[in-house]
Assembly symmetry: C2
């Protein structure tokens, strides 16, 4: 690229990075608020989370539009192109994380007055903490282009699954003990599933950060032997 093109491209990249960071911050806050609303049965906070998702959706479309304009105007190659494609992919994952937080907030509205034990909530909260720290780490890895940190997040995926499985068994026991627990436990099962899937998106983002830096897929196999999102067509082939 020519010098003035490179300057314009750098400013495009900066703006993309800023928008992705804003999306990441919003997504984190939505998760915190959604699980807080669930713990405290706070309908006001739940409604705020549901309404707040729109901002993340708008940002995703803005990242898409900006990424596409950047590609059309600057025709970046190799690592420059991967930077743009990476922000596009990460914004998709963050938008999905926002949706999942909204799903939890919707459950709060559906749950309404059903009784909820503090003990079960603790499992959900523990899982949320794990996933939030993964998301925080992977957004850090993105912001600093930190390869080691991205790989760390990618490897930590199994921890969330273990907590989810033990929560699942706990909820199953409550349901078996007393059929009156079934309704609430099903809601919590779906909430836990939503949180687990946020962790999957954090793993996807880790793969994207790796790809942005290295120009190839993180590994031929994801943890758990699931190859879902590790297949990458390299742009600089």
């Amino acid at each position: 690229m020519m010098d003035h093109t490179h300057k314009a491209f750098d400013s495009d990249l900066q703006e993309l990075g800023r928008m992705v960071a804003e999306m990441g911050g919003l997504a984190e806050q939505q998760i915190v608020d959604a699980v807080d609303a669930l713990s405290r049965r706070d309908l006001t906070v739940a409604q705020r989370v549901i309404a707040g998702d729109t901002r993340i959706d708008v940002l995703q479309r803005e990242v898409e539009a900006r990424a596409i304009l950047t590609i059309a105007r600057r025709q970046p190659m190799a690592v420059d192109l991967r930077e743009v494609v990476g922000s596009l992919r990460i914004s998709n994952d963050l938008e999905r994380i926002g949706d999942l937080a909204k799903n939890i907030a919707k459950r709060v509205v559906a749950l309404d007055s059903e009784f909820l034990t503090q003990k079960v909530m603790r499992g959900v909260e523990h899982m949320t903490e794990l996933v939030l720290s993964q998301i925080k780490d992977v957004l850090d890895a993105y912001a600093r282009r930190d390869l080691a940190k991205a790989i760390g997040v990618w490897r930590a995926d199994e921890g969330v699954d273990a907590v989810n499985n033990s929560l699942f068994r706990e909820l199953l026991t409550y349901m078996m003990e007393d059929p009156r627990n079934i309704g609430i436990c099903i809601h919590l099962l779906f909430c836990a599933k939503n949180i687990e899937r946020m962790g999957d998106h954090a793993t996807n983002i880790a793969e994207t950060v790796y790809y942005m830096i290295e120009g190839r897929a993180l590994a031929d196999e994801r943890p758990k032997g699931d190859t879902t999102s590790s297949t990458v067509v390299p742009f600089d082939a």
Copy 2:
């Protein structure tokens, strides 16, 4: 665009359309096979669905790569650009539908030997038929750029939700009646949720087809007052 550019662009578009159509066909088959594997407890078919998801993932990356090269090389504007962006968005939704089919296949493996009533399965199958016909219609609407058909799919979303709600209540009753049903019913609840979400992606695709043709969002509000994916930044603003 100049004439030779337009010719090259048309062939790019054709190839994108072909890849999206292939993804759509594969996604439909994966849904049929996954629910068939669930009904008949066929582990072999389930494993095939799980393995088959990789092909859809690869195609999605190929659509992404081709779309980006097309934007960089041809710098399309207005409706031309929306065609490319549309195929990118639709391939994302089809990839997600593939994942959801894979989720169902994974449940078949987890279910293993648990007893399953034919009656409950009928509800799941009915829901699947509804969603499959939505996906078929929306892929048709995409292939023919059929605005009326896209709007029809977008409006049909509520039918799936109604079936899902009645299935949910039915499963809840089984669980209340006999705690031994709880395990299997939870698996089916998650399967039903996966199918419902496939329907959401069909709705997203309908919105994208509308956007490709009209250059604006289908409506300010989605059915059920959920604005999740109707926010669109127009490229030709």
